[in-house]
């Protein structure tokens, strides 16, 4: 439909629009996962956190009429799940990957359980900023509508880079992630730093969920997430544990996700589902080419993936 007036120009425009709309969940979960992994733990359960965030944001926005209150609730709900993950994954002999899978099941179960009554009603949505108001073309105007939540995520990315580089707390997180023994010798509580990092990361992932249900696609249903939470771990590897590169990675993945629908809108739908898989294929290829058995990935926290003593 969007291509009636624009013809083939609709394809790149649809991809840009899709990137601006669809990158934010990737951005929030990857920043959250980045913070978590910098402290030396993996949280595979962000898919559950994302769904929980989406559901609680929608429910609170519906009940109170304030979508921003929904966003905050989503973050807090995410933190609750992060608390469970952070505590359990640091017990001796507990594998953080296994805890992550358990948290996916538990978190999505909770979200579907409590979200059942909210599938039908319509909740107030987040506002958007119209950067394309100057344009005569309605397509361009709608493509350039951007959520303030997305801008917030874009701002957090360099802020987090600065946090790791220049602040005392950032140094603590990095120390715990690179060499827990050295951190312990300095008198830092490894347990607490990791717990806080995981909880803060889960807060961000919860906010990412709020974006899904309160902005785009802007509904609550059990199929609202297309695996963005699961992708977080791969995104962070792709971004080499650098928050600023998480932003670029999220834009790339958001864009890749928009290719299938954009081509479908001009009548090319033969490979629709395969185009939808392009982010996953891309990540896999990048991992195949950048990993090597002879050295660790540059930028990887030293203690990442090592089991607790």
């Amino acid at each position: 439909m969007a291509t009636d007036a624009l013809g083939w120009w609709g394809v790149p425009l649809a991809i840009i629009a899709g990137t601006l709309r669809g990158s934010a969940p990737f951005l929030f979960v990857s920043l959250g996962e980045c913070l978590t992994e910098k402290s030396g733990k993996i949280n595979l359960g962000l898919e559950g956190t994302l769904l929980m965030g989406a559901m609680s944001a929608y429910a609170v926005s519906f009940l109170t009429g304030s979508p921003w209150l929904g966003v905050i609730t989503a973050g807090v709900a995410g933190m609750g799940l992060g608390l469970i993950h952070g505590w359990l994954a640091q017990q001796p002999r507990v594998n953080d990957i296994a805890v992550g899978i358990a948290m996916i099941i538990f978190g999505s179960g909770l979200a579907f359980f409590f979200g059942k009554p909210y599938i039908q009603p319509a909740a107030p949505q987040l506002p958007s900023i119209a950067f394309g108001a100057w344009s005569q073309s309605p397509q361009l105007e709608s493509a350039l509508r951007v959520s303030p939540l997305f801008l917030l995520g874009v701002a957090i990315a360099p802020l987090m880079t600065w946090f790791f580089r220049a602040t005392r707390w950032g140094l603590l997180v990095r120390a715990v992630g690179d060499s827990p023994d050295a951190a312990r010798a300095m008198g830092i509580s490894v347990f607490k730093v990791r717990l806080f990092s995981i909880m803060a990361g889960s807060f961000l992932a919860g906010v990412g969920g709020a974006y899904l249900s309160l902005y785009y696609p802007g509904i609550w249903s059990e199929r609202i997430s297309s695996g963005q939470g699961l992708m977080a771990v791969a995104l962070v590897i792709f971004a080499r544990w650098n928050p600023r590169q998480c932003l670029y990675a999220s834009l790339l993945f958001g864009g890749a996700q928009a290719i299938g629908p954009a081509l479908q809108s001009v009548g090319i739908d033969a490979y629709y589902y395969l185009f939808n898989a392009s982010p996953y294929i891309l990540t896999l290829l990048i991992m195949v080419f950048t990993c090597s058995p002879r050295r660790q990935l540059s930028g990887a926290p030293g203690a990442l993936g090592q089991s607790q003593d």
Binding site: K116, Y272, N276, V288, P293
Partner: protein, 365 residues
């Protein structure tokens, strides 16, 4: 002697205690949601194991879980955490459909079609996970992430094929492939509604246990999982072991896909990724990667899955209740694992001197 006895007792009472704790937490959850916990327990028990008829449902649910769990449990012996079960099931199901359609077109007899379907499914599922093992061994790509990504790629392939090249034009709302002729479907065990997949699951778990615990090959695999450096120094062919074990694990999950196609759906459709993959990971972890224990856990989990409908009807709880229950069981079993070895130490300390209990390290939930 007493030490080993205590250890085997701990192996029994910690998982049982974890299950009990999960039941109590879940009961509290149901009470908060306004349902009578004991009524819910009773319903789950009745729906899962209450009668021969309902137990047959449990058995039917359990058989793909047994097969799928081996996809995690076998590589775990090498120290690999593989969660690509879902993808291997999907690929197995696709291979089964394609080979089944080709063989029946060719006019082959039913046993030939069925054996062909099983072999194709095991082959493709095995290659799918062997790819994960190869990436791990030759490129040091993290096996958990790559197997997770391959799940999504497999599901995309499935969607592509059932909406495009393999689509049966008569399946409009629920896209699916052309069906396998009914005469070539896997039958039921005599006198029951349970299909032969159950036998596949039990036999596969038995073979896997024998292979890992009782053969030189299994010993080499366990050595590699225990200490990679030592295994390399001892001259074990680590790469070969990785590829073979991953292939076997994937083959089992692929067979689960074939069973779903050849015994239940008769065609490949979106129901192939119904979650047996992730539940299989759950089974493997709860069973501590032991194939024999996996059969029992698969029965338990199959029972829980089979009780989804009755919770909705009898207690007006959403169907996601089953998911919450699974999550609680999984989390509580994982916590139970961390008590292994700590529990007896704690008890001894209490006996020697009445020290105050350790300060709480963090609030629970």
């Amino acid at each position: 002697m007493t030490d080993s006895l205590r250890r085997s007792l701990a192996n029994l009472y910690i998982p049982l205690g974890s299950l009990l704790a999960a039941l109590i937490i879940f009961g509290g959850f149901c009470a908060l949601a306004g349902a009578n916990p004991f009524g819910v327990y009773h319903s789950i028990y009745r729906a899962a194991f209450g009668s021969w008829s309902s137990f047959q449902n449990t058995l039917t649910q359990a058989s793909p879980l047994m097969l799928s769990s081996l996809c995690t449990a076998l590589p775990a012996r090498l120290g690999l955490v593989i969660i690509g079960n879902e993808g291997a099931i999907v690929m197995g199901g696709l291979a089964a459909v394609v080979s089944g359609l080709a063989l029946s077109d060719w006019g082959a007899a039913s046993p030939v079609v069925q054996i062909g379907m099983a072999l194709a499914a095991m082959g493709l599922g095995g290659l799918w996970i062997a790819l994960v093992g190869a990436l791990r061994h030759y490129r040091a790509v993290n096996e958990t992430i790559s197997s997770l990504l391959l799940n999504y790629i497999a599901i995309a392939l499935l969607n592509h094929l059932i909406n495009g090249p393999l689509k049966d034009p008569s399946s409009l709302n629920n896209p699916a492939t052309y069906p396998i002729p009914a005469v070539h479907m896997l039958g039921n065990l005599p006198g029951s509604r349970v299909h032969y997949g159950l036998i596949f699951g039990l036999v596969a778990c038995g073979i896997a246990y024998f292979l890992i615990q009782r053969t030189t090959f299994g010993f080499a695999a366990r050595t590699t999982g225990g200490n990679l450096r030592a295994a390399k120094i001892a001259g074990l062919p680590v790469g070969q072991l990785t590829l073979i074990i991953c292939f076997l694990g994937g083959a089992c999950a692929g067979l689960a896909g074939m069973v779903e196609v050849a015994a239940i759906h008769g065609r490949a459709n979106a129901a192939l990724n119904a979650g047996y993959g992730y539940s299989g990971v759950l089974v493997a972890f709860i069973a501590r990667q032991n194939p024999i224990a996996a059969t029992v856990v698969a029965l338990l989990l199959g029972g829980i899955l089979a009780s989804g409908g009755i919770l909705q009807r009898a207690h007006s709880l959403p169907d996601a209740t089953v998911l919450v229950f699974q999550g609680i069981v999984f989390l509580s079993v994982l916590y139970g694992d961390s008590l292994q070895g700590r529990l007896s130490g704690l008890m001894q300390r209490f006996r020697r001197q009445p020290v105050p209990p350790p300060a709480p390290i963090g609030p629970l939930v």
